[in-house]
């Protein structure tokens, strides 16, 4: 078993939607509700789920954009949730993020070179006269040319901007990068380019990824292990091959059956889930998936299912495995 880089224990983030007259919360949105998993050094952990299941919120907790409501977040054995703002900032450069929307993630008033140089300068990683050289090196790493550092973000295409965002994340030599749906805003042809780039960089820099996506097909390409989220909870964690070959949770099975297949002759058994994702403000009692599950039993509506190891490294939260 390789070394654990990040250990997430029972992490939760609740947003107060509405308060009564006295400021007491009357409705609470449980975006992330008790999630536990760990990310090993050098692996790519894929996190999959529908829109609104809390995967982005989870990513934002890891990079300190949100502070968790409860739970612990260990990074290299140190609990980051107990640190104050100043102490926490010291860990910023180790945990970086790549954003979903390349059009909103670059400051329109800064040149690309300045955008990439900024994290190096504010963390004091290099003397000023070496920064430019480093910026050019980083631009090359992500497949951009050196002269492009003097341009502004609006002069670039979506894929190129995403490359700039990747270079910015790499600039501080992070240990882990949270990739928040980095390709879902891009064209399919560009998606492959960016995914390949991310894969190459992982080898080159020895990076660890938390790769967030809403489809299993994107994650399949890059991940070593995959976690499936539904309504703020993890329902299944497994090594990639195991998960794709042998999905256990009904939700994972449904997600897998939704991946388009290239061969039109091939008949696929398509599992179509009924209804919409229930509101995370008022999730169903018992197992959260029980309202849409095609294998639902009576016991599902009574009690929440906990993650259980069904085979080595393969965890499922489902009453079918009690």
């Amino acid at each position: 078993m390789s070394e654990v880089l990040m250990d997430i224990q029972d992490l939760a983030k609740h947003f107060v939607v509405d308060t009564n007259f006295f400021g007491k919360p009357v409705s609470v949105l449980k975006a992330v509700d008790g999630v536990s998993f760990s990310i090993n050094k050098g692996e790519a952990f894929g996190l999959v789920g529908e829109s609104g299941c809390g995967k982005t919120t989870l990513g934002k907790i890891l990079v300190n954009l949100y502070s968790p409501t409860s739970g612990k977040l260990f990074f290299e054995g140190k609990d980051l949730t107990v640190l104050n703002e100043g102490q926490r900032r010291l860990y910023c450069k180790d945990i970086q993020m790549i954003f979903q929307d390349p059009y909103a993630s670059l400051n329109p008033k800064m040149t690309v070179g300045d955008i990439i140089a900024e994290p190096i300068l504010i963390n004091g990683l290099l003397p000023k006269n070496q920064v430019e050289e480093r910026v050019i090196y980083l631009l090359n790493c992500v497949g951009l040319a050196r002269h492009q550092r003097n341009r502004y973000p609006h002069e670039f295409s979506g894929g190129q901007r995403q490359r700039v965002g990747i270079a910015r994340a790499l600039a501080v030599e992070p240990k882990i990068i949270v990739c928040d749906e980095p390709v879902s805003a891009l064209d399919v042809s560009i998606q492959a380019q960016v995914l390949n780039l991310l894969g190459d960089l992982k080898e080159e820099f020895g990076l660890t990824y938390l790769f967030i996506a809403h489809g299993l097909n994107v994650v399949k390409h890059i991940s070593d292990r995959v976690g499936v989220m539904y309504l703020g909870k993890l329902v299944e964690i497994a090594p990639k091959k195991e998960l794709y070959a042998n999905p256990q949770h009904p939700y994972t099975q449904a997600l897998l059956s939704a991946i388009p297949v290239i061969n039109p002759e091939k008949k696929m058994e398509r599992i179509i889930l009924e209804g919409d994702v229930p509101s995370p403000i008022n999730p169903p009692a018992g197992c959260r998936f029980s309202s849409r599950c095609f294998k639902v039993q009576e016991s599902c509506k009574l009690q929440e299912a906990k993650l259980k190891e069904v085979s080595p490294g393969h965890f499922v939260a489902c009453h079918l495995f009690d």
Binding site: C92, I122, G143, R146, H147, N150, Q160, R168, V172
Partner: protein, 309 residues
């Protein structure tokens, strides 16, 4: 646009051996502004007005008479002379040369416009930024206070301030400045709220920036264009407010020349000597128009997306 970069970065390097000079934001802005004829006209007029104001002010400081006549010297024997070669804009009821008085008035109008905007801008930006950044109760208290100020017609509020502070140029500046604080506070708050949710602000936080640096480096530069445009347009309304206060006899006190005051005192002679009203009126209109044209031009020039290539 051009997603044809090779996956081998070295090839890209060779393809682009030349190094392009960075284009400064200011230069790009100026290039765009120059293409807008109306804005250039506005800038040109403002330049002339500023030149007049400066010359009059400096010559006054040095005790020299640069204007054709002393703007405040009354000679009742020469009252109501129609515009002619000696008195281009005629003379008023006290026999003062209108041309000299209008040139002299430029100084006051521009000074009041700029300083009043400076007051409301400073206080408004601070209020708006605090409201947007703190949020919650602070936001509510500040913005409801602003709403209360906005609910009262601005000129009425200015008159109320003048009543409390007293007459005079300095008090007029303060009154006009205070009255337009809510506009700036609202604009700044709104822009910061929309900018601070952008991912690049999040990225700045993730890379370890301190809050103050995030505001200075990432939020304000993206809000500044809105503020600059609003301030330019704000000068024109400040000029107009000064004139209104002067018209009501609350602003600059006689004998000093101020366009609105000139209008107010001459309004009894609108039929017998219309030139005593027409020229100050034209002066106000031209100044306000010039600032409005420039403001509109700046709004286009500062928006990187609307820039003409």
């Amino acid at each position: 646009m051009e997603p044809t970069y090779s996956s081998n970065p070295d090839e890209n390097l060779q393809a682009a051996e030349y190094v392009e000079k960075p284009e400064s934001q200011l230069k790009v802005m100026w290039e765009t502004l120059r293409l807008n004829k109306a804005a250039v006209a506005g800038l040109f007029i403002i330049g002339i007005l500023a030149l007049i104001a400066l010359t009059v002010w400096l010559s006054e400081l040095m005790g020299k008479q640069i204007l054709p006549y002393d703007p405040n010297y009354a000679d009742m024997t020469k009252s109501f002379i129609k515009p002619n070669a000696q008195h281009w804009f005629g003379t008023d009821q006290l026999g003062r040369d209108m041309f000299s008085r209008i040139l002299d008035g430029t100084k006051i109008s521009l000074f009041v416009g700029v300083t009043a905007v400076a007051i409301s801008l400073t206080i408004g930006v601070i209020f708006g930024a605090i409201a947007a950044y703190r949020g919650g109760k602070t936001d509510t208290v500040i913005m409801r206070l602003m709403d209360m100020m906005l609910a009262i017609p601005s000129i009425l509020l200015a008159i109320a301030f003048m009543a409390a502070l007293g007459k005079g140029l300095d008090k007029a500046i303060i009154a006009i400045g205070l009255v337009s604080i809510p506009e700036y506070a609202r604009i700044v708050r709104g822009s910061i709220l929309s900018v601070k949710e952008n991912d690049y602000v999040h990225a700045a936080k993730i890379m370890g920036n301190k809050t103050r640096r995030i505001i200075y480096k990432h939020i304000l530069p993206n809000v500044i264009s809105v503020i600059v445009v609003r301030a330019t347009l704000g000068i024109s309304s400040a000029v107009l407010d000064t004139a209104a206060l002067g018209f009501l006899g609350l602003g600059v006190q006689p004998p000093f020349a101020e366009w609105g005051d000139m209008l107010g005192r001459a309004r009894g002679f609108i039929f017998s000597a219309p030139y005593t009203l027409i020229f100050p009126g034209i002066a106000i209109t031209i100044t306000v128009l010039a600032f409005n044209l420039l403001g509109d031009g700046l709004r286009d020039a500062l928006d990187p997306k609307s820039r003409i290539k």
